[in-house]
Symmetry: C2
């Protein structure tokens, strides 16, 4: 049986910190034990018509398996989770809540995180940078306070580890260690995700693309 193929950055802008969105899909594959191939793409290739056939928005990752092509890391992770055991609870209500937390990670928690990162990159030289960054950080703190309160001292968002935790951990990693130091509960939550063997394999594989050294697996 042919392995699915995903795309990832040829040169990841995060220098192998595992913040690019292929990490989510690699981790999901590792959790369910599904081997996969990776095709590396350059920034210029991602904007060309041939790549736009895979993803009209010119982003990584894409997923190809036979005649099916998908983009959107959340949708790819959900697709993998639906076709294998281990990433979604069997109980229908618990499954619906896990999918709810997948949407919450990407649609409620990620936007203020990405806005802050973007401001730190594209507005760094603007006269308003500091004033606006303070606004964005206040807004981000509101979300992280809410999430932190909800998680409490639970290990995972809702019972067992699921695709929701996989997405939420990757989303939270983008905040950065020093800002997250205000949230020991969320920091420990991320560490629990990073301690999973499947996470470690996925992380090593994406790092190997950057360092040029093959991962041990």
């Amino acid at each position: 049986m042919k392995k699915p193929t995903i795309t990832a950055f040829e040169k990841s802008p995060d220098r192998g910190q595992g913040l690019a969105r292929d990490m989510r899909v690699r981790w999901a594959f590792e959790e369910v034990g599904q081997p996969y191939d990776v095709r590396l793409v350059s920034f210029s290739e991602m904007k060309k018509p041939a790549y736009r056939e895979l993803n009209p928005f010119g982003q990584i990752p894409t997923y190809q398996d036979g005649n099916l092509t998908l983009f959107e890391s959340g949708a790819i992770v959900l697709h993998i989770a639906e076709r294998h055991t281990g990433l979604l609870p069997k109980d229908p209500d618990a499954r619906a809540r896990a999918i709810m937390w997948m949407f919450a990670a990407l649609n409620t928690v990620e936007p203020p995180i990405v806005e802050r990162s973007m401001a730190m990159i594209v507005e760094r030289d603007k006269s308003w940078h500091e004033e606006r960054l303070a606004m964005l950080e206040d807004r981000l703190r509101v979300r992280l306070d809410e999430l932190s309160k909800q998680l409490g001292d639970a290990d995972w968002l809702d019972g067992e580890f699921s695709a929701a935790d996989l997405l939420m951990v990757t989303v939270l990693r983008r905040v950065g260690v020093s800002f997250l130091a205000q949230y020991p509960g969320l920091t420990a939550y991320i560490a629990r995700g990073e301690a999973r063997p499947a996470y470690k394999r996925a992380f090593a594989d994406q790092l190997a693309v950057f360092t040029g050294k093959p991962s041990s697996g």
Copy 2:
């Protein structure tokens, strides 16, 4: 059988234009013919502990059906689509692509739209407002160009109308008519969504909350 209950704004900030996120869920219920109840909540109620039990982020809509409570409009629409016919294709690959477009609507197309709306509200009096708004509008045009090209002259994103179109139309409506005038294809796409009888019923019901007049249905 008990009807599911959703929450919506007691006083919608859009004055009944159907831009609040309960509209998506109302529309989904109408498409599949599922009656539902609405519980109106005030802004102060949404921030109280009792409401946070339903949604830790203190937002509308929430969904309650028996023992199951959900938040995140995308997850609620997907939940409804999975339990009824009419909002997701039966073919497994087409179904996966429809779910991909649901994530694309909320995670790739919506963020630059919301960022622009937010800037127009919270940064209107800032010295940098006009300069930054121009940046945001450039960024939004990139996304809308890509989406418009992808849609081409098709009626819907991928074959038949699906939950993906439902979300994408509601996301695009937030851009506003004048900015969207640059995109006749997307304007026509929105109009096709708005012409559906289920959309019209949902729109009338949310408007009735604002006007205080009961809808005809």
